[in-house]
């Protein structure tokens, strides 16, 4: 029982990581039908930037967090202004399925390169927000950072779900993804929603990177892997449902931990990805992937 609970705790922690990045991807895809493959790089910048500001530049932790989050928000705004605005509002550049992946893929490469130039190739971890020994409840052992990660993932997933489902602004944002032209006809500024949600998810990812980095540590190369896992979690939520992405991420994390604990510690990821692959191929309709994005 103890082993099961500890595996569950580890699975929920890693699943929360997958889930939150999946949610960030899903909410923005819902608005503009583009996958944010730079979401992991924003998290990496949050984690490494804060660690560097606190440990090397000597700034207080809170100030470091604020500086990094503002910086990430500005970077996201700048990218929207320089790249996304001409591409999606003025009709410049590549469109279709290429635009779904490659604009943010380019951003990911740039962020990776900038991080390497600024921070080098070392492993960084931001200081613990909630420091202290691991928590013990019955046979359940979990790190404090893990509790924060799971809590932040659940709260973020719920807030995003509620925003899209119950607010006028959320419904307007969803309308942009359904039809840009239709939303413009009824007076919705699709560019504004795309920009705001892009900035919001970038800041959220950076915050999550800060909270999570004491557990895993980050290098300048951590971003793409995180983004890929986020894409998988978002894929299991039809790329459009952030709440479901968090749930999918948690389930993937738990499945990964259980496979590692009870089947094979070496091949747990292999088995997990093989199962996910089979689901995508044989039951795409379950994931809502039966049709092209609108």
């Amino acid at each position: 029982m103890s082993e099961f609970l500890n595996l569950l705790a580890a699975g929920l922690t890693s699943g929360a990581i997958y889930g939150i990045f999946g949610a960030c991807l899903a909410v923005w895809f819902r608005v503009c039908n583009v996958l944010n493959l730079a979401v992991g790089d924003f998290a990496m910048f949050g984690a490494i930037g804060t660690a560097w500001l606190v440990q090397t530049a000597g700034l207080p932790f809170i100030v470091g967090i604020v500086v990094v989050l503002v910086g990430v928000g500005l970077a996201a705004w700048l990218f929207d202004w320089v790249v996304l605005h001409p591409a999606f509002d003025r009709g410049a550049g590549a469109h279709g399925i290429v635009s779904v992946f490659f604009y943010t893929f380019g951003l990911s490469l740039v962020l990776e390169g900038v991080a390497r130039a600024m921070f080098g190739t070392d492993v960084y971890g931001a200081p613990d927000i909630w420091s202290g020994p691991a928590l013990h409840v019955l046979d359940f052992h979990v790190q404090r950072a893990g509790v924060l990660v799971i809590g932040l993932a659940i709260v973020s997933g719920l807030l995003l779900w509620a925003y899209l489902r119950f607010t006028v602004s959320g419904r307007a944002a969803s309308a942009c993804g359904e039809s840009v032209l239709g939303s413009r006809i009824v007076g919705i500024d699709s560019a504004k929603f795309r920009r705001r949600i892009f900035i919001m998810t970038a800041v959220l990812a950076a915050l999550f990177g800060i909270v999570e980095s004491p557990i895993t540590g980050y290098t300048y190369l951590s971003g793409p892997t995180i983004s890929l896992i986020g894409v998988v979690a978002a894929g299991f939520a039809s790329f459009r449902r952030p709440g479901r992405a968090v749930t999918a991420g948690l389930l993937i994390g738990v499945a990964e931990a259980m496979l590692g604990g009870y089947v094979s510690t070496s091949y747990n990821d292999v088995l997990l990805y093989a199962i996910l692959f089979a689901v995508i191929i044989f039951r795409p309709e379950v994931l809502g992937l039966g049709a092209e994005p609108a």
Binding site: A94, V231, L289
Partner: protein, 380 residues
């Protein structure tokens, strides 16, 4: 070798005529009251392009005489074989599959295992690798090409993740250190000679790959692929078998990726799991998109240039991420068909300008001559 070239050729051998076979044999059409006999000549461009690449590449590598630059170019040639397949798959047919690094791994590990563990010769290993990759691509393609656009992309994104991990944990595949001591394609009496000869075999394979890809793109099948890429319903409405064409493109792209992997293993003498990783896939995507996803020539040059830049020890190799990212964004915004598309467009404009100037000059000449005769006639 770009899309317009195929479109122009389409006036001769469009999809309708390709139904009779795009084999280049004489065909007979009986449309209209009097039968029209039309002899279709064999398209010289694919063969010419393939020969040019093989000959010019061999000369360049011979000139480099086994230097480090020569080894880098040979490695670039290995990637170029893969990117030629990607032009057909991603650029031309817009089949968003990210499985090329996996098939590169099949080719590289296939060569490594067959040559080091089973003492196959290089030629036998290469042929076996091609056969294995055809079967693997057919089996995998039959499954993955059923998936619609985003599902195909997502499924094939997962492939490098778990195949990479499989390779790192497998002692048979050498775990993290991979398989060392893969013999070169063509061993010479000296190290330098071996490098040159292996490079020459590599560019011959590249010429073959480019010739095959160009042949497909310039045929009726190429036009069917283009129609499918534009609009699948349009393709279906003109009788294109979407499933079959998707599978064929997937198999061809995958086999070329495996051949590229085999060349890479032979050139470097070692196979590591890195060849299977998502980083390798990202590098391949950059090579195709920055240079020109619809141009075979662009993809070849892109692969070699980017390989050179990533391995050079200058400022560029340190900041390659920023440079590649900015280049990709600029290209996507300004010229989605990549550097090759931009050059094509510029040259097209220039040629159009020359043609317009020639036309106006000829018109002027004719007018002045005609005007003179009219004038003299009026005088009479």
């Amino acid at each position: 070798m770009t899309e317009p070239a195929a479109a122009n050729r389409g006036t001769i051998s469009g999809p309708a005529s390709s139904a009779q076979g795009a084999s280049g044999q004489a065909t007979e059409s009986s449309a209209g009251p009097s039968p029209v006999h039309r002899t279709r000549r064999r398209d010289p461009v694919p063969l010419g392009a393939g020969l040019f690449i093989a000959v010019a590449g061999s000369l360049v590598l011979a000139t480099m005489n086994g230097s480090y630059l020569g080894l880098t170019v040979t490695t670039g040639v290995a990637y170029a074989i893969v990117t030629v397949g990607m032009v057909l798959q991603l650029g031309y047919s817009r089949q968003l599959a990210f499985s090329q690094s996996v098939f590169m791994g099949v080719g590289a590990y296939g060569m490594g295992i067959l040559e080091t563990k089973y003492n196959f010769s290089s030629l036998e290993s290469l042929l076996a690798v091609i056969a294995i990759s055809v079967v693997a691509a057919l089996l995998m393609g039959a499954v993955v090409t059923r998936a619609p656009g985003l599902a195909l992309a997502l499924a094939t994104l997962l492939l490098p993740l778990f195949i990479y991990q499989l390779a790192t944990y497998s002692s048979y595949l050498g775990s993290f250190s991979g398989i060392d001591g893969v013999p070169p394609f063509w061993t010479g009496s000296t190290y330098t000679q071996t490098l040159v000869q292996t490079g020459i075999v590599s560019v011959i394979l590249l010429g073959l790959a480019a010739g095959i890809a160009a042949r497909v793109m310039r045929s009726g099948i190429g036009l069917q692929l283009m129609a499918m890429a534009e609009d699948e319903r349009l393709g279906e409405s003109i009788g294109v078998s979407l499933r079959q064409r998707r599978l064929e493109v997937f198999v061809l792209g995958s086999v070329l990726a495996a051949v590229g992997g085999a060349v890479l293993a032979s050139a470097q003498g070692i196979v590591t799991p890195d060849v299977l990783s998502e980083t390798a896939e990202i590098t391949l995507l950059l090579m195709v998109f920055v240079a020109g996803r619809k141009s075979i020539a662009g993809a070849i040059l892109g692969a070699i240039v980017i390989e050179y830049l990533t391995t050079s020890t200058s400022f560029i190799s340190t900041n390659i991420g920023i440079i590649e990212g900015v280049a990709l964004l600029v290209i996507l915004l300004v010229e989605p068909d990549g550097v090759a598309g931009a050059i094509d467009r510029l040259l097209g404009r220039r040629v159009d300008g020359w043609a317009a100037a020639t036309r106006s000059w000829l018109t002027e000449r004719l007018r002045s001559r005609g005007g003179g005769s009219v004038g003299s006639g009026a005088g009479v």
